[in-house]
């Protein structure tokens, strides 16, 4: 599935979650530093949250 993290495009296998999207872009360290992950509506999502094709998430 195609996911966008902070606007950057990545492709993940089925069953992968928000944390895999962050792994792909080496962004887990940002979470460790206290940042959170949000969806396009500005709602926080958990690292184990499922993603769907064309999901857009933001680390901030």
């Amino acid at each position: 599935m195609r996911i966008y993290v902070n606007g950057r495009e990545i492709d993940l296998a089925p069953g992968m979650s928000v944390k895999h999207a962050l792994l792909a872009l080496d962004l887990l360290k940002e979470i460790q530093a206290g940042k959170k992950v949000y969806d396009t509506a500005g709602h926080e999502v958990g690292l184990d949250g499922a993603l769907s094709d064309e999901s857009r998430i933001y680390v901030k």
């Binding site: 089925p14 992968m16 499922a50």
Partner: protein
Amino acid sequence: MNMKKFLALILLAAIMAFSPAMLQSALAAGPIEIRILHLNDFHGFAQPYKSFGENDLRGSVAVLANRASELAKEKPTLILAAGDFIQGHNWANFSKGKASIELLNLMKVDALVVGNHEFDFGQETLKIRAAEAKFPILGANVDGLSALQPFTIKKVGDLYVAVIGVVTEETPETTHPRNVVGLSFTSAEKSVAAYVEHLRPRADLIVVLSHLGFSADKALAQKVKGIDLIVGGHSHTKLEKGEQVGSTLIVQAWEHAKALGVVDLTVQDAKVTKAVSRLDFITPAGTKDEAVAALVDKYAKQVDAALSEVIGEALVDFDGANIRKKETNLGNLIADIMRQTAQADIAITNGGGIRTSLAKGPLKVNDIYNLVPFDNYIISIKLTGKQIKEALENGVSAVEEIKGKFPQVSGISFTYAPTAPKGNRVKEITVAGAPLVLDKQYTVATNDFMAAGGDGYTSFGEAVKAAPDYQSAGGSIRSANIVYNDPSLWLRDIVVEHVKVRKTITAQTEGRIKEVP
């Protein structure tokens, strides 16, 4: 009796015969208030814990249960669970979800919708869990499993509330195929539309209990009219206030018992006239429900006992100390297990995922859990020889820094020059004794961390995209290059099972990875 009164009586009789809900609510005086409490994606996180990147403890299902109990006393209440309860944390896993069902029974939950992870222990276990549940387990868009029912109707105060349950159609792609044999996961939208039409005459309120994810819930609300409330899960969304889409309110309560969702509805003439929703955040500082606290302790003790179980014996010392800088017998063991499980040509796993050594002697479950502690699972992808070489180059690119990316391998041998420029260190590569062919495809088992690009391993993602049938539009990825993908089974549990079956384990270094000048 005049004709008008006679016709009115006939009409009333008809209503009584076919729509008790309409009559009941028609007879009820004024607006009716009810409450819906909800939680989702519990995954067995019964005890407080610190989320990654946070310093504070959150959650505690005993505190959540007490809060739910207090809130339920204030007005007629429905308690709903939006999926993914029986699998995840050891607390649930070690009893294959029995602990979670007992918890929901104690909480007097009114309905649970299956989440995709409810299938992770297989259908037979799910049927056993369903038989233990004192509430219906819903799955309107799942065909082939009689343990599930499409909907339930609950009387909440003076109102009849219909609850339709749906789960993501992508469930088969998120668990091992053996777990969903004989099942069809059909269109959630079509199922909901059909049941809304069927249930509207029989209920004052229509609730969809959804394990589709927040964006899919929004799409559902746009496409299917007549849904009053969608109680969601799957995306682990922290919806502090519900989101209104047309006349449908959508709510979701984050994850892991860190929040309890509270929706207060005012209903008049089968219409919601007021809806207020919030999340009550749960911390261990709250008051616990004693029965639930006892249940949490009971299963926590069982986990401790299970972790202490001796499952086999290591016949040699297994070297984890050098796993980030050279071939070790421990790396060989883990890579071999991965390759065998996925029935792949090759396995490549990062040394950083193997966290300790194993001493010669008795092996406990906990030893294995400490060895491979991460929630990693095996995925096998077809890579070309060129992509394999690139993966190995990445793996040895930081050997002087003793980084976790250093590869441990199975089914493949290679030499590398640690002092050569990065990207040009790998020299000879053989697979099953023959030189690697750069344009030939090989199946390579790895872990999901690496497959997602962790530790700089980009080859796996590139291989997935390179498949001629690759498509990523309108749904999940499709790629013939993914040949094995089992998010339902952690690597550590596969290793535990390997040890249990064999009773003794041994391995040695074999020259799979050699340094050359």
